[in-house]
Each structure stands twice: as structure tokens, then as C-alpha cells.
Symmetry: C2
């Protein structure tokens, strides 16, 4: 293999773009330089010579001297237009835009195939952690059972600050934003949507399952109740926002993003601050754990750089598992999960008939209201009460699993029903 020199057309010069520039200046191994930078704001002062910048995307997309487009802008819709046109123009693309990727993955895979032009996006999941490429390459020959991870640095920073440092949610969120860990629209982080976008990418490379983000249940950390937090503390567990994809029997894949109670002995309990962590479970290698910074300019830029390096060796994703695992399908109705639901009053009480089993209930004016039960993953996603204000759902410390009963069967109220409705 012969390394080629590459000249980069860079879209966006925010923290990651500037990080990339700084990193390229100090990288001995890579023969890559930034040829031109497209930015939006004409009035912003910039640290580099003005002639390097343009405000017209065609100046980059139509420039034959630029080999690779690096797309680091915030707007997913604009990013999509840029990436698509770059691929059609035969320019390899490196992007960190997980929202854009998750929303257009089938088309972007097909575009790579039809144009023969590579699109790499290691930085789009877990920043510096080499997750995508390891799932694509290293587990190619192993039978992956599950991938579960903390894949949003911002929410993990917030949860760590709340749990370890006792900070209120709003303060922790503000600090995460100040440190540049949060997306510009924090709703993407705290509602679990950023993690869901990344889960779409993990599903494609771990299991060859290409699905849209809207097919996956995501519950965020914006609705965590004091009761749920107190429950976790009492049990000696940490609440983490966990994205999980699991292969169940019969070719079923279950996947979701849920606030999850994590035991101290679980690898993910050791993922603090803005770090990301991923646990893979496979037939031969068994359990593996990857931990690294999941946010920040340099960690993200380092993953972009790694993709640039891979391009110089002619690397591209082959999406091998799409062929290998054609029999796998996402089937939330065939999976179930144990959850703690806390709610404020009768207006937002969860519908018991949605549950396969209700294990425990409490209604108490003093102590608050909660329900612990087993529910189908599809049923939970469809539940109208899930999105009502004052409702908080936290997964108990256990993996997604195949549904034990036929979906729609009447729930059995098994354990003692503590019913202290008072006054």
C-alpha cells in the first residue's frame, strides 16, 4: 500500500475544526494539509489567513485540488447536502455528524457503493474511541451478542456531576455546555437523541442492521425524578444513560437508549465525566470494554485524523455484516425490559395493562408514586404515559431480553401490591 498525500477541504471551523487544524500541525505521520475552509459567518474573526476561507460551498466541492472533504458543521441538513455532493463528485468524506449519518444512512451506504467513494465517520461515535472501525473489522469474525455503552459524553458529565458531586441537573447541564461537551441544542443530548443517532451507527457496524433513529426507543435524562435518583442511591446503583443493542434468539435485535441502573461491578459504572465506554459481548472474545473521552475538540479531532490516515491507505467501510447478518431484524415487540416508573399523580399514572408483569407498586403522598414492572420494549415505546410530564422511566440493572410471554397477554400482578394511597 502506498500512502498518498491529501489536501483537505474543511467545512466548519468551530472547536473541532480548529482542533483538527492544531492537531494536523503537530502530526508527524500524516501527509495531510487543509487546502480550503468553508465557513458560514462572514463577520467572525479567525486565527488563519483570510484567503484560506470561503463562504461558498461550491468553492470546495468543485475544486479538483481537494481530495477529501472533512465535514464538521453543526447543521445536519446542510451537512447532508455537502456530503452527498462530495461523494457524487468523487471526493472522499470524513464527517463527525452523527445526526446526519443516522438520518440518511441507507442512502449514504448506497452512495458509497455506487460512486466507489469512501465515507468515514469514526468521530461520530464515542469521539476518540476506535469503536466503529473495531466493530467493523475486529468483530468481523466473531459472533457479537451485544454492544452496550455510554455513548453521550454530555449526559454522562451531567449524571456524574449530579451523582458524585451532588449538583442539581440545571447547574450540571450549564457546566457541560460551558465546557463544550453538550451539543449546541442540548435537547439532542438530554433527551437521548444524540445517543440514539450513535446507536444507529453501532447497529450498522456491529450487526449489519441499518435502521432509522425513529425506529429506536430513546428515553433521556431530562425527566429523571428525585424519587428515581433516591431509589438508585438506596440500592447502591448509578443511573447512567445506556445505549444497548442485543442479539436475541431467532435473529431478533433489540436496541434502545434508556437511563439505566448500573451496579458498581459493571464496567460502565467506571465511566465518569465526559468519558464514553462501550462493552461488547461476543462468542469467542467474550466481554471487552473500551473507555475513552467521548467529547471535546481534541479527542474528536483525533478520530477525524485517524480517518484521514485510513483514507491514505485506501480504507473504506465495507459494511460486511449487512451481508453476513441479513437474517437479523429489529423487533422491539419480541423484547422486554424491567423498568422503574415514577410518576407524580393520577394524571400521569402508567397504564398497568401495558406491563407483562407488575412487580411492585407504591402510591404514597409522603414517599411518592412508583411502579416496577416488566414491559415489552415496543409497548414501552408506544405508551402514551411515557411522554407525559412528571413521568420518569429508568431501566433496572439488567439487559434487554427476549419477551417471556406473548405480546398483548394480560399482565399478572405477581408480587405484593403496596398500595398506600393516602388521604
Amino acid at each position: 500500500m502506498i500512502r498518498t498525500n491529501i489536501t483537505i477541504g474543511l467545512f466548519g471551523f468551530g472547536v473541532v475544526g480548529q482542533g483538527l487544524h492544531a492537531v494536523l500541525e503537530r502530526t508527524p505521520g500524516l501527509r495531510a494539509r487543509i487546502g480550503r475552509i468553508a465557513v458560514k459567518d462572514r463577520n467572525k474573526a479567525r486565527s488563519l489567513p483570510a484567503e484560506l476561507f470561503t463562504f461558498d460551498k461550491q468553492d470546495l466541492l468543485d475544486d479538483p485540488s481537494l481530495d477529501v472533504i472533512v465535514e464538521l458543521i453543526d447543521n445536519a441538513d446542510e451537512a447532508y447536502i455537502i456530503v452527498k455532493q462530495a461523494l457524487l463528485n468523487g471526493k472522499a468524506v470524513v464527517t463527525a455528524n452523527k445526526k446526519m449519518l443516522a438520518e440518511h444512512l441507507p442512502e449514504l451506504i448506497e452512495l458509497q457503493r455506487s460512486t466507489g467513494t469512501p465515507l468515514l465517520y469514526e468521530a461520530a461515535a464515542c469521539a476518540s474511541l476506535p469503536v466503529i472501525r473495531n466493530l467493523e473489522e475486529y468483530y468481523d469474525t466473531d459472533l457479537l451478542d451485544s454492544v452496550e455503552g455510554i455513548i453521550n459524553g454530555s449526559t454522562n458529565y451531567i449524571l456524574t456531576a449530579m451523582n458524585r458531586d451532588g449538583q442539581p441537573y440545571a447547574d450540571a447541564l450549564a457546566k457541560a455546555q460551558r465546557l463544550g461537551f453538550a451539543e449546541s441544542n442540548p435537547a439532542l443530548d438530554v433527551e437521548g437523541l444524540d445517543a440514539r443517532n450513535k446507536l444507529v451507527l453501532l447497529l450498522a457496524h456491529a450487526f449489519g442492521l441499518v435502521t432509522g433513529p425513529e425506529e429506536l426507543l430513546a428515553v433521556g435524562i431530562d425527566c429523571l425524578s428525585p424519587l428515581a435518583t433516591a431509589y438508585a442511591r438506596e440500592q447502591g446503583l448509578a443511573i447512567k444513560l445506556v445505549a444497548e443493542a442485543r442479539r436475541l434468539p431467532n435473529g431478533i435485535i433489540a436496541a434502545a437508549v434508556l437511563p439505566t441502573l448500573v451496579a458498581p461491578s459493571h464496567e460502565l459504572a467506571n465511566v465518569h465525566d465526559e468519558f464514553n465506554g462501550l462493552v461488547t459481548q461476543s462468542g469467542f472474545a467474550d466481554r471487552q470494554f473500551f473507555l475513552g473521552r467521548g467529547a471535546g475538540a481534541f479527542p474528536t479531532a483525533s478520530a477525524v485524523l485517524s480517518d484521514l490516515s485510513a483514507l491514505t491507505y485506501g480504507y473504506r467501510y465495507e459494511y460486511k455484516k449487512i451481508q453476513q447478518n441479513a437474517h437479523l431484524s429489529l423487533a422491539p415487540d419480541a423484547a422486554e425490559v424491567d423498568v422503574l416508573v415514577t410518576f407524580e399523580d393520577e394524571a400521569n399514572v402508567p397504564d398497568e395493562s401495558d406491563f407483562t408483569v407488575v412487580h411492585e407498586q407504591l402510591r404514597s403522598a409522603q414517599r411518592g408514586n412508583y411502579l416496577i414492572g416488566t414491559i415489552g420494549l415496543g409497548q414501552l415505546a408506544r405508551a402514551t404515559w411515557l411522554r407525559l410530564p412528571g413521568v420518569c422511566v429508568v431501566r433496572l440493572a439488567c439487559p434487554l431480553r427476549a419477551a417471556s410471554q406473548a405480546v398483548g397477554a394480560r399482565p399478572a400482578i405477581e408480587t405484593e401490591l403496596v398500595n398506600e394511597i393516602s388521604r
Copy 2:
């Protein structure tokens, strides 16, 4: 890239070889099959048809129908002859033999270059953990500062059993051997020599530094004293066998294998049983941690399989950092380390003049004898007292660092000298 089918000539049919066979049978993605197996013992009963086996290595090495030689025998000298001849015959090789690799690395790198034939050995370090390829590929563009890890599963199993379960050393070793985690010659494990062989491989792929194992200091766990173990427990620290390679200022690399006190907050404190863990620290990605099974038939076979898969895509190590980091050199005399030395009596007391600083000393018939001091890494390697019976050396919980004083300067005895020589 077009995947090719491969037919394997397999040397050795022990636990890993049999694991590989089992794993190949159940792998959907890989078009590889075992064509012939060379074994040594003519009398052993085998689970596969007799015609698959041969006792003559030339039957594999000269067979043009075999594309890849997988070498999984125990004897490093025989393995070397096999691997060398295979490469010369134009056959790609996958091996897990770290001893053979560490002893012949410069020649094997040159042979790959001159023959154009690849030699892959992911299974030789950390079994299933994708360590070699990540160091080679992913950190290609990042400035790696250090690699530190628990890279011998057998000793970690023993230390875990001693520390967590309170088992005596001999019992723990016997159990590790029974479970198949230990090398057939356990001295390789417990004297730190297996970890040292792997450190040779990590140095080549992390820093492009090719060195012989004898250039590296290795202290094992076979001499751990009750006093050292008690000291660790009192301090709330765990003793782990840690291999470390660190880039110091001025292009100096310091590397050693040492029993090391590890704080509970350190990632390596969470590596239990036969698991391996590796922490990388780099300029842009910062701190990353990889955890996985470091021993056992299936985890090792899964790494072999991953190499086989990589071969079908034309992958080979390029040893990129050998070019990039030509200015780096191993300089143990420019590095120093803080150690706890325990010793039994006057016959094996460490020479104080070897130390840059002696921080603390105790000589007590009741409590035992120890010295805590700072010592040059080269000086420690040369110390005659290091290998005396009854001497135990444990590194304090701190990284290797550049020497603070000129080597050979008189040691200053800084802190209070507790000198309780009694009776």
C-alpha cells in the same frame, strides 16, 4: 478490496488450535478452512480425521494449496524455523508465539519487507483485545505518550486470587495452570518474561522501537513477600504486574515490567482474574482503556481469526512508527522509578548507593526489613541484590519518569531514616 478464500496450514493442535478449529466452524463471515495440521505427538488421540494430520512440517510448508500458515505450537525455536521458512516460501503467517516474535522481531520485520509476505500476531499480545492493530493503525496519527498494561493473564489471575480471595501463591498458580491460563513453563509467566516479550511487541507498534527482550527490565511476582503484600493492603492499593512503556522528554523511551502498586481509581485496578487491560495516553485522544480476556483458547483463537480475516483483505503491518519515530531510543539510565524493596536479612540488603534518594528504611526483627527509594531504571536492572533470594521489589504507584539527577550521583538520604535494627 476483494476477499479471497484461504486454506490454512495449521501447526499445533493444542487448546488454541482446537479452539480455532471450533471457531472456524461457527464463523459466518470468513471464507477460511483448515487444509492440513502438523502435530508432534504421533500417539495422541485426536478429534479430527487422521488424514488431516501430518508429522512432517514440510508437508505444510511445501504444499502450494495452503495459503496461510497458522503457527500455534509451544516451542519458540521450532516456531521460528517454521515462520521463517513459511515467509520465504511466500506463505502469509499468523502466530500467537510472543516469545518467538520478541526474540526475532528485527529479522521478522526485515523478512516481511524482503519477501513482501505478511506476518500477523494480534493473538500474541492480550489475546482477544485488539491491541496491536489499534496501536499500529489508530494511534498512527496521534502522539502516544505511554502504554501501560496488565498483559499477562496468568499472573493477574494469581494476583487476583491472592489479593481478593486470600489464596496462597502456590495454590493460585496451580489453579491458573489447571485452567489453562499459564504458559506450559510457568516461569515465563511468574518471572515477568511473558509480559516482557509482549512489551517488545507493544514497543514496536506503539513507538516504532524495536528492541530485544533482554534490553528490558522484568521483575516478576514469584518473589512477592508477605511484607510487600501487607504494605499494599495497608495503603489500600493492589499489586499488579504492570508492563509500561513511556516516552520521556528528549526522545527517550523507558520501558519495564514490574509488580506495581495500583490505586483503586486507576483503570488497571479494575482488571481482575485472567483479564488483560491496557491504558494508552496520547496527545489528542488523551487517556483510553481497553479491557478483555487475556488468556484462554477461544479469546486467543478469536484474535487469530481476526488476523485471518485481515489477511483476506490484504492487510499487513507496516510498522509505520519505525520510520516516524526514528529519533526515539530506549534509555533506562535516563529514567527513574520509585520502589519498595523488602529483604530478609543482611545477606541480601539492597545497596543504598544504587539509589538516587532513599525515602524511608525499616529494619526490624518483628516487622521486617524494607527500603523505599528512587532508583534509576538502568541501575535497578544492574543491581546484583535485585536477583538475590529473599529480595522483593514493587514499584510504587507512579509512572516511570525522566531521571531527576545525573546518573551516578551520590544518593541523598532525604527523609527520616527509620532504623530499628534490634537484637
